[in-house]
C-alpha cells in the first residue's frame, strides 16, 4: 500500500498504553518516542515527516486522563479531554467559562471532537488558542515523568514556538485551572471565526469593585513565540471607571508590551491587532 500517491505517515512501532506509568516507561525505553492523543496536530506532522518517531505511544485508552474534576480551589481538566468536551462541560462553563469559550473557538467542529487539551498544551503552537488562555487563568500544567508528577505554571510552560517545558520521557496529564472569584474573563481572536488559525488573540480578565476596574489581567496570543503578558495594559486598567472609552485607551498601553524583536510580519499590524483585541477582550470582560 505504501509508495503510491499521497503523503503517508512514516513507519513506527505502536504501543497502546494502559496507564500513564506504562506510557512513561515506553517513552523512556525509546529513542524518539512520541505521544499520540487526539492526533489532530500529530498526524499532519507525521505526514509531512517533521516528526519521525520510532515508537508512538497511544494514550487513547488511559482512563485516568479523561474527564473534569472539581478540586475545590481549582478545576482539573484531564489531558485527554477534547476541545468539544471542554466547551460543553457544565463544570468548566460554570467555573472557567473563559476556557470553554476558547475551546469552542478552536479550529472546526470535527477537529474539536478529537483534538485534546493535552495535545494543545504539549505542541505549544503559538497559533493555538489555549496557551494565552491558560496563562491568563494562571493555570498549572500537570506533567508526569519517570520521577513522578509535577506541576508547571502555564506562564513558564511555553518556552518557545512549538516548545513546551516537558522532557522527552514526560506526558502532559492535565491542566489545573484555579477559580477566580469576583473576576470575569473574555477571549478575543482574529479572525473571530474558527475557519482559520488565530492570527492573534487576547485573553483578558477584570475584577470589578464599586463600578471600577480594581485589577486586570491581559495575555496576548500569537504575537510572539509564547503568550505575552500585557502588564502595561493591566497597570493602565487599574482604577478605571467602567466605561468603554477609557478601557480602550488603556489598551493602547499594549505598545509597551508588544516588543517583537523576533515577531514575524508587520510590526505596526501586530501592535494594531494587540491594541484592538486587548481592548475588545477587556470591554467584553467588564461588560461595558
Amino acid at each position: 500500500m505504501r509508495g503510491d500517491s499521497g503523503v503517508l505517515p512514516p513507519e513506527f512501532e505502536y504501543v497502546r498504553a494502559r496507564d500513564v506509568a506504562e506510557a512513561v516507561r515506553v517513552l523512556a525505553d525509546s529513542a524518539e518516542g512520541r505521544v499520540l492523543a487526539g492526533g489532530q496536530s500529530l498526524l499532519p506532522l507525521l505526514r509531512s515527516r517533521r516528526v519521525l518517531p520510532d515508537v508512538l505511544v497511544d494514550l487513547g485508552g488511559v482512563a485516568e486522563l479523561h474527564g473534569v474534576r472539581d478540586e475545590g480551589d481549582a478545576l482539573w481538566i484531564g489531558a485527554l479531554s477534547t476541545h468539544h468536551e471542554v466547551a460543553c462541560d457544565p463544570l468548566v462553563r460554570a467555573h472557567a467559562p473563559l476556557l470553554a469559550q476558547a475551546a469552542a473557538a478552536v479550529a472546526d467542529p470535527a477537529v474539536r471532537r478529537r483534538g485534546t487539551v493535552g495535545g494543545a498544551l504539549a505542541h505549544a503552537d503559538p497559533v493555538f488558542d489555549l496557551p494565552a488562555v491558560a496563562v491568563a487563568l494562571g493555570a498549572e500544567c500537570r506533567v508526569a515523568g519517570p520521577e513522578g508528577e509535577r506541576g508547571v505554571p502555564a506562564a513558564r510552560f511555553f518556552v518557545g514556538a512549538g516548545a513546551a517545558a516537558i522532557g522527552p520521557n514526560e506526558v502532559v496529564t492535565g491542566l489545573r485551572v484555579p477559580r477566580w472569584p469576583g473576576w470575569s474573563f473574555h477571549y478575543e481572536r482574529f479572525p473571530s471565526d474558527g475557519r482559520s488559525w488565530a492570527v492573534a488573540g487576547a485573553a483578558a480578565g477584570v475584577r470589578l469593585v464599586d463600578g471600577h476596574i480594581a485589577a486586570a489581567r491581559v495575555v496576548l496570543g500569537n504575537l510572539g513565540p509564547t503568550p505575552l503578558r500585557a502588564s502595561a495594559v493591566e497597570a493602565a486598567c487599574a482604577g478605571l471607571p467602567l466605561r468603554a472609552a477609557p478601557v480602550r485607551a488603556a489598551a493602547r498601553a499594549v505598545d509597551a508590551d508588544v516588543v517583537p524583536p523576533d515577531a514575524v510580519g508587520d510590526q505596526d499590524r501586530q501592535r494594531g491587532l494587540a491594541r484592538v483585541l486587548a481592548g475588545r477582550a477587556l470591554i467584553a470582560a467588564a461588560e461595558v
Binding site: M1, L43, L56, H84, V111
Partner: protein, 167 residues
C-alpha cells in the same frame, strides 16, 4: 501489526493494519468502494473524508486506523437511509452541488450538525460545517441547502417528535 475490530456502516471488520495507516485510507482501500471516502487532500484542509466515529463527525485523515479500534464508523453510505442525511443530500445536490467532491463530507458533517441542532441559524451552519470546504461552489449555497433540509425535516415532524441527540 496491530489488530483492530471496527464496525463500518453496521458491518464488523476484524483486520490487521499497519500502525501508520490513516483511517481514511483504511476505509477507502480496505473496507469500502471508492466512493465512501473521497481521496484525501493529505492536509486535513478539505474535510471530504469526514465520517462519524461513535456518532461524532471527525476527519478520517486525521485519525489512525488503530485509533478506531472498537469504534462504530459511519460513512456517507451508512447514512443512505438516514432520516436526517437523506433530505440533506437531496438539498445539497439541488442547491449547492458543483463537482461533488466535498459532498460526502458535507452530508456527514451536516448530519451531525442537524442531529444536535435541528433548527440552526445561518451562522451556526457556517460554523458547524467549517471543517468541510466546498471549493467550486458557494458557501452561501451550502448554508441555504442545509437550511432547506432543516426546514423540510421540521415540516415532516423531526422537531415536533424530538428525534434528535443531545450533544
Amino acid at each position: 501489526m496491530p489488530d483492530i475490530g471496527v464496525t463500518v456502516d453496521g458491518v464488523r471488520h476484524d483486520d490487521e493494519v499497519e500502525a501508520w495507516l490513516p483511517l481514511a485510507r483504511y476505509l477507502r482501500e480496505r473496507v469500502g468502494g471508492g466512493g465512501v471516502v473521497p481521496p484525501e487532500c493529505e492536509t486535513a484542509e478539505c474535510g471530504g473524508c469526514t465520517v462519524l466515529v461513535d456518532g461524532a463527525a471527525v476527519k478520517s485523515c486525521l485519525m489512525l486506523a488503530v485509533q478506531a479500534d472498537g469504534c462504530a464508523v459511519t460513512t456517507v453510505e451508512g447514512l443512505a437511509d438516514d432520516l436526517v442525511a437523506r433530505p440533506l443530500a437531496r438539498a445539497l445536490r439541488r442547491h449547492a452541488q458543483r463537482c461533488a467532491r466535498c459532498l460526502p463530507g458535507l452530508v456527514v458533517a451536516a448530519t451531525d450538525l442537524l442531529r444536535n441542532r435541528p433548527d440552526p441559524s445561518e451562522q451556526e451552519i457556517h460554523e458547524g460545517l467549517a471543517g468541510v470546504r466546498c471549493r467550486c461552489g458557494d458557501d452561501a449555497d451550502v448554508v441555504r441547502a442545509v437550511r432547506a433540509a432543516a426546514d423540510s425535516l421540521g415540516v415532516w415532524g423531526t422537531r415536533q417528535t424530538g428525534v434528535r441527540e443531545v450533544g
